[in-house]
């Protein structure tokens, strides 16, 4: 069962919707072009996962959303995901933003934290300058289609030299399988600024058997010279949702991006997180944690492209596969000619808990410069019976022993996550998905 496109995605429809929302002309044109491109471009082709067999066109139709007056009105399933009243909070429900707030203090410092649709109207020059710069609109059918249909979304701008201490948060959720759910998140951190952004991508369907819905999202992070952005995202939607998530950062001189990705979604997943280290001394650190269950298929990719001299990338992915779940994990370190003294390290590890589960780790190093250092480590294995025996020999039950070992497999990455609230939340979601 799947939802067919309620309106065909073509230039006319995309432009008409854009105009009806009062979007600026440049954005209407961009959406029209995206729709046209999407008719000819191909779907992305990740290694060993045939995403073209997924129901990728089940994108639903645009449905306007009524705003809520406070976060208290959120459905129970998602209402406890934001912690104590964050300094900034944006909530997207299905096709649109229903709630947003930003502390007066941050507003007075010039920080912008709102939905991307509003930002396109109110800060058009700024948005136009950066939208679809880290991700090319014509990269493939997914990015083109997304450029035509994206809705709601988040825009975060931090002015020069402003340091935002507390994490700004977003909650993006779906509770209507017929409504397009396609947030676009654009973060611009101006010179020497500092910010942490955390989002939860969730769902709240009543009962089982909801129709298939593709959730597609594109994240673009622009890290200007000397800026430091932490981007944490935790995905935990229901099985009926196909999660297509593209994340890209462009990092200028001495800038830093930290990615924290929790792929704990229950449905098929394409998760692709990459940093372009354009500036000298720019750095990227990506941590991805995933648990696969049921029959879900996952393609998890981290990547770093080194252009700047003395740039540094660290990538770690750890995945636990249960039941008949499959994960193909790719790590791509690319060092361009001229990126002298660059360093790239990557590790992918998969722990398989069932004979039917499958995990592949593919480290790829593409190096066109001699004066660099790079390393990779990959492993795919099962719970070590010697370790289970050792724990059991101290009176710990088999179940508890395995639980300790599995949590221990993920712990070295979870413990490194610099935001305590995210750590806590990840722990409880990990526990929940492991126990399920």
């Amino acid at each position: 069962m799947s939802t067919q496109l309620s309106t065909p995605v073509n230039r006319e429809a995309a432009e008409a919707l854009s105009r009806s929302k009062g979007e600026p002309a440049w954005l209407t044109a961009l959406r029209g072009q995206g729709a046209e491109l999407s008719e000819t471009l191909e779907w992305p082709k990740p290694e060993k996962v045939r995403i073209d067999r997924w129901d990728l066109t089940a994108i639903g139709g645009y449905k306007p959303q009524a705003a809520i007056a406070s976060a208290d009105e959120l459905p129970e399933a998602v209402s406890n995901l934001s912690g104590e009243s964050p300094a900034g909070f944006v909530v997207q429900r299905n096709s649109g933003i229903v709630f947003k707030q930003l502390s007066a203090e941050l507003q007075s410092k010039g920080v912008i934290f709102t939905d991307l649709e509003t930002a396109a109207r109110e800060h058009g020059d700024l948005v136009q300058q950066y939208l679809f710069k880290a991700v090319a609109q014509d990269e493939d059918k997914l990015t083109a289609l997304h450029s035509a249909i994206w809705n709601g979304g988040v825009f975060l701008y931090v002015p020069k030299n402003v340091e935002v201490e507390l994490p700004l948060q977003a909650l993006l959720f779906s509770d209507d399988a017929e409504a397009t759910f396609a947030p676009h998140i654009l973060v611009v951190a101006d010179n020497n600024s500092r910010v942490t952004y955390v989002d939860n991508v969730s769902s709240a369907f009543e009962g089982a058997g909801a129709a298939t819905l593709v959730k597609q999202s594109v994240v673009e992070v622009i890290v200007k010279p000397g800026a430091h952005v932490r981007f944490a995202t935790i995905h935990h939607m229901a099985e009926n949702i196909i999660d297509l998530s593209i994340r890209r950062a462009i990092v200028e001189n001495d800038g830093r991006i930290e990615w924290i990705v929790g792929d704990l979604h229950d449905g098929n997943t394409l998760s692709d997180t990459r940093s372009l280290l354009r500036g000298n001394g720019s750095t990227s650190d990506a941590k991805v944690i995933s648990i696969g269950s049921g029959k879900q298929q996952m393609s998890l990719t981290t990547g770093a492209v080194h252009v700047g001299r003395s740039s540094d990338s660290q990538m770690v992915t750890r995945a636990v596969m249960k039941d008949a779940a499959t994960a193909i994990i790719n790590g791509v370190t690319k060092i361009e000619k001229g990126a002298t003294k660059a360093n790239g390290e990557q590790t992918e590890k998969v722990l398989m808990l069932s004979p039917k589960s499958r995990g592949d780790a593919n480290p790829i190093l593409l190096i066109d410069e001699d004066d660099v250092t790079a390393g990779h480590a990959a492993s795919v294995g099962q719970v070590n019976p010697e370790q289970v025996y050792y724990l059991m020999s101290r009176g710990i039950s088999k179940r508890e022993a395995e639980r300790l070992i599995i949590n221990g497999f993920l712990a070295p990455v979870v413990e490194e996550i610099p935001i305590e609230a995210v750590q806590e939340q990840l722990r409880s979601l990990l526990e929940r998905k492991l126990e399920a």
Partner: protein, 259 residues
């Protein structure tokens, strides 16, 4: 009830090769037994078979602790019944801190609803670590990961002290220990000697027995206990080696199950 541990006719094999060919041994609370013997005679197999290592299959016999046959139980049940094995090669487990592990083990032993409070646990753990002259930092390190040989052995003894078992099997606890560490480990073991607890010490060398005085000494060859005696037997083995035992019993090759 005074602890009574009886191994009766225990046979065990690994990959269909019989290693233990009928072990008989009785240990009462308060007693320290030592099993000595050259390499490859089945000593460590006995320790692993008693604990239930997945690679060893017990093919016959019983090992009853206070009337209950441990061989009928899973490894964790044997531990909760009061058996403790200090291993020759303890596993390293990334991501599980030593203190989390110890607390899980203690609480598994105590049972649901009777868990030790965190404060009491920490107090106990820190006290015992001090006795063993362990760096307090080891509580927060991942279990055995990056521990030296001597540190792993101390960590085994720490677990023994905290778990308060009825029967303790020490498998080559002296291997890889320098003399100072050996004294500390031996002191830890001696502090645990009591009327309620029996010990089975497996070792190559007499050296350990200078610090932990055994009441009974057994020699193992070809997967059997071939000779038993008092502490004087260990001394003679130290001075004269094993050849006289082989000669006396007409044994040419003392090993078992070697390819």
């Amino acid at each position: 009830m005074a602890t009574q541990f009886v191994i009766d006719g225990l046979t065990a094999s690994i990959e269909d090769k019989e290693i233990l060919k009928g072990i008989n041994l009785e240990i009462k609370g308060g007693e320290v037994h030592a099993i000595m013997g050259p390499n490859g005679t089945g000593k460590s197999t006995l320790a692993s078979a008693l604990m239930g290592h997945p690679k060893y299959e017990v093919t016959g016999g019983t090992a009853t602790l206070n009337g209950e046959d441990l061989m009928e139980m899973a490894t964790d049940e044997r531990a909760r019944a009061g058996l403790f094995l200090a291993m020759q090669y303890p596993s390293e487990i990334t991501g599980v801190t030593n203190s989390d592990f110890l607390r899980s083990a203690i609480n598994a032993r105590r049972g649901e609803g009777n868990e030790l409070s965190l404060i009491k646990f920490i107090r106990q753990m820190e006290g015992k670590m001090k006795e063993l002259e362990m760096n307090p930092e080891f509580a927060h390190r991942y279990l055995n990961e990056g521990f030296s040989g001597g540190e792993k052995k101390r960590n085994e003894i720490l677990q023994m002290m905290l778990l308060d078992p009825k029967i303790v099997v020490l498998d080559e606890i002296d291997s890889g220990l320098d003399i100072d560490a050996l004294k500390i480990v031996a002191a830890g073991v001696n502090s645990m000697r009591s009327e309620e607890r029996g010990f089975l010490i497996i070792t190559h060398y007499q050296r350990l027995l200078n610090y932990i005085k055994p009441d009974f000494v057994h020699v193992m060859m070809q997967g059997r206990i071939v000779k038993s005696g008092g502490p004087e037997l260990a001394e003679r083995l130290e001075n004269e080696g094993y050849d006289w035992v082989k000669e006396e019993l007409g044994i040419v090759d003392e090993t078992v199950g070697q390819a």
